[in-house]
Amino acid sequence: MIADARTLAEGATLEADVCIAGAGAAGMTIALDLRASGLSVLLLESGGAERDPEVQALSEGRMTGIDTWNVRAMRIRALGGTTGHWAGWCRPLTPQDFEKRDYIPLSGWPIKYSDLVPFYRRACETVQIGEFDWNSAARAKATGKALLPLGDAIDQRYYQFSPPTRFGSFYSDTLGQADDVRVLTFANVRDIRLDQRRGRVESFACRTLQGTTFNVQAGRYVLALGGIENARILLASRSQESDGVANGHGVVGRYFMEHPHYYNSVGVVHPSTADLSFYQRGPSDLKRADGTVVEMLGALGLAAETSRREKLLNFSATFSGPGAGRAASGQAQSDVLPASTAQALVTRGAGDFNATQLTVRSEQSPFRESRITLTEDLDALGMPRVALDWRIAPEDDVRMRRAMVILARELGAAGLARTWIPGDTSRFVWRQDPGGHHMGATRMGTDPAVSVVNSDSRTHQVENLYITGGSVFTTGGDSNPTLTIVALAHRLADTLKRGASTMNR
């Protein structure tokens, strides 16, 4: 059933076994999984079926660090959440991403890659991509496209593309027809109320933009509000604890991570005979459950061993620009890469060449000073707005440049290309831009001094409060996060089901 909170009676109390705040990819996935589980589910969504500027304004905030585009527009408050403008890029984190790396402080998830694989498999179906198969050699063989003949230092990988699945339009009807799931639109959580012991959530205090207030009482509560809003509601729930909920160690909001994107930042000049078709977006041999073909895009990164040995962060580089992979007759397609230099270095005076660019998507190391805080400004619900101070550890930039040099050497060693990495004053820009991926502000870990949730996604301090989404990422890897967010949601749904007999109201 889908209902509108604006029709509720003032002061109403709603009950459920599980209350999920946020009907984006994570919240909807959990609700879908909990159908017919014996648990009653209440799914709260701030918006409705369509985007509404008045609702969207609730996400307004300030950016005080690196520009993260637009806090207000980046996240969508409507059924389906930010999948409403998701581009569909899918790739799992790597096994290495889950491991502790001594050279990256606070790295190491409390779960292993293998723990998440069964949920990644389910996530592939949920986001409508092909099977959980990330073998580039197999993909190349099946599609008749060639991998670049690079050495072992380089990991050749690829993205699968979701249609993309707009969770709101694709899954709302299914949830609406579920007997045991109630979806309540235009419902905003304003405060998390704890019991006297401060160890359990007693209720969510909610409100509509029209002023109707109501309470939700549930056995267990899940925050699935997105990478920024998860931290915001915890920090803003100060009616009982001055630092907010689940924030006894002051970790909530800290360690905010993005994927620094270096858009079209690295120049690559290669003979026009080079076959880059694997690295252009196109059909794969993979099929969705409905039999349609999944698109893919090849990318380059460092092999785990290289990354470990050189103490570097993970990254993926994709070719871009009109010349990528096309065997057109050669003129450098950018006046930033002088044709004469390309001619000299790449074809040595004989033969055509193409110039293209790499967009590099990087991991950032967890950085305590990169954080979300509350401001004095209030939104229409009376909730403090956020200040987002996205920062990157200075050594991260050095590491990324070093990683690019290694990639350049490998391309040179294979006789494939010459690479151009900009300085700060070049027209190619080496600048950390965001990817719109908000991670880490309620991170997962075993130590409450540096994490907010445990390996079950349950808060360390509040036993019936769970958090899911990008905010629980311990480290972010370089993969676009949606597939992992959905996998974690499937995993949490199973956790909630397992606890059904002991954790109900």
Binding site: T341, A344, T347, A408, R409, G412, A413, R418, I421
Partner: protein, 133 residues
């Protein structure tokens, strides 16, 4: 007085000074051993304008000037490869191998933004020789 081209004059002068920069002289004398500047230019397909710009950046990065003596100092590795070759064509092949080996073994430098192999950078420097005459 003999009217040597300026570049050849310089090479003879270098030889007379006792520098080991003898290959150009050998070329001038009509022997078959490859000549450094010619080999470098040949490596780049005879199009040396861009290579010269990179070569200048390389010697500058090393804190050297573009005198023949400095270029010689900057290009010892490439000169050794050329010296060991029996002909211009062999030298160019050997240089190609040396460039790839540089990349494999991490011997690269960044010049004007380009990541080039050390041997490549040295070859670029060698293309400056005519300009120093």
């Amino acid at each position: 007085m003999n009217s040597y081209p300026r570049r050849e004059f310089l090479l003879r002068a270098l030889a007379a000074c006792g520098t080991p920069f003898l290959m150009p002289l050998a070329s001038v004398e009509g022997l078959q051993k490859p000549q450094a500047g010619t080999a470098a230019a040949g490596y780049f397909g005879g199009r040396t304008d861009a290579a010269r710009a990179i070569g200048e950046a390389y010697v500058r990065q090393l804190g050297l000037d573009t005198s023949a003596e400095s270029i010689h100092k900057a290009a010892l590795g490439a000169l050794k490869v050329i010296e060991g070759a029996s002909s211009q064509q062999n030298a160019i092949s050997a240089l190609g191998i040396a460039v790839r080996r540089d990349f494999q073994q991490g011997r690269s430098v960044q010049l004007e933004g380009w990541i080039v192999s050390r041997t490549e950078a040295e070859l670029c420097a060698l293309t400056l020789l005519p300009a120093t005459n």
